[in-house]
Symmetry: C2
Subunit: 213 residues, 2 copies
DNA sequence: GCCTAAGTAAACAGGTCTGTGTAACCAAAA
DNA sequence: TTTTGGTTACACAGACCTGTTTACTTAGGC
């Protein structure tokens, strides 16, 4: 007989369930952990927020620790490649920071927060936090090397200090201007290293010259 | 144990007591809150560490929240006056940071940690954290003004970013070199503002010149 | 000697947390 | 049909938390 009901395989539109249960749990855990704090949120709260039973949550993650680890790993997204010139990419980092600060759901660096909350004894958390910080430092270093900066290693570290400093300051002060201050400081440091960041004369540049933009 | 003398100091209190019970509670709370985290330490643990009953603790502090507030206020020590030239004072800040990073009991900024742990909803904690950050910024600004720096306001903010950035980085990486990196960045920023920090030519200085100690 | 203040010990109330156990349910697959 | 697997609802264990209560002890000051 011809089926009066629709083909079961393509029956419903994705809107209600576009993602798997595991993803839904992770997404909700991310939101709550980040916004309210890892220790402040219990697994009950997460399950209730999604509307599932706690048992289901534990069917997907063996423990809260595993959920925390998955949360941090999910936050560890690598930067997308960009075709903009390296100096612009570096400075754009701070613009992006400023935008994030302005959002009302910004609550500092999830990795720093996790280490602060869970303490240094939690090796798993610390390990991924270190990996994240190092990856960002390497990202800066790569761009600086591209720019021909002599001591890219040291300058990358200094830029990272500005990033984390502005994040910490914004966390307590809620002042997106911290990102702009960091950007200005970064410009000075870059200029001092011979990078052309526009707006001012440069002491001396390594032989290679870059076309503006 | 090594604490036979220390024990005496606590036990056999000479007429002018070396410290009152309230101070002992605060000192212990400070150590544990800072090292292990505020949420990780219960009042029982603090009382047990001192060897007093929980009731005694509650006789001195009406609630754990009050103890937390007292802990943070105790951490809020203002800098001692110094007769060294301002530029040296500023740079010495980073040397002091490096020394603190090297100590094994360093665990980041207690105010940032408290905000990260307790969340933005805890207004009392956030308030004192903001006050502390602002006081440090003003300390920098004062010295910069003394040095005749034009935009002391902006530069003070940038120096604060370096301080907090190195603290955050050291918290996750345990790398005291972060303080040195911050110091080098600070030197560049100061030099750029016309301050003589030694070791390099200065673009242009405001009329006032300081004797190099 | 007596009184007061402070501390001790231990239980307790009422709450939260993580994680498990159990029985029922429901839909799709075999 | 029966089976299977994911889910729900709910109770529960065991631990820990803040804060209180009760009853007892101790040390000085009068």
């Amino acid at each position: 007989m011809l089926s009066s009901e629709q083909d079961k395989r393509h029956r419903m539109a994705p809107p209600p369930k576009p993602q798997t249960m595991k993803e839904r749990i992770l997404e909700t855990a991310d939101k709550l952990f980040y916004l309210k704090g890892i220790r402040a949120i219990g697994v009950d709260t997460i399950a209730a927020e999604i509307g599932i039973s706690k048992r289901t949550l534990y069917n997907h993650f063996p423990s809260k620790d595993a959920l925390i680890a998955a949360y941090l790993e999910r936050r560890f997204v690598s930067a997308r490649p960009s075709d903009k010139p390296p100096a612009e990419q570096i400075l754009a980092t701070f613009d992006s920071l400023e935008r994030r600060f302005a959002a009302k759901d910004f609550r500092g660096c999830p990795f720093v927060n996790a280490v602060a909350e869970l303490g240094p004894a939690d090796r798993a958390v610390k390990k991924i936090a270190i990996a994240f910080k190092e990856s960002r430092r390497l990202w800066f270093r790569e761009r600086l090397t591209e720019l021909g900066v002599r001591d890219a290693e040291a300058l990358a570290t200094q830029l990272v200090l500005l990033v984390d400093g502005s994040i910490a300051q914004d966390l307590v002060r809620d002042d997106p201007a911290m990102a702009r201050a960091a950007k200005e400081a970064a410009k000075v440091l870059l200029r001092n290293a011979g990078v052309d960041v526009g707006g001012d004369a440069v002491k001396q540049v390594k032989g290679r010259k870059r076309a503006p933009q």
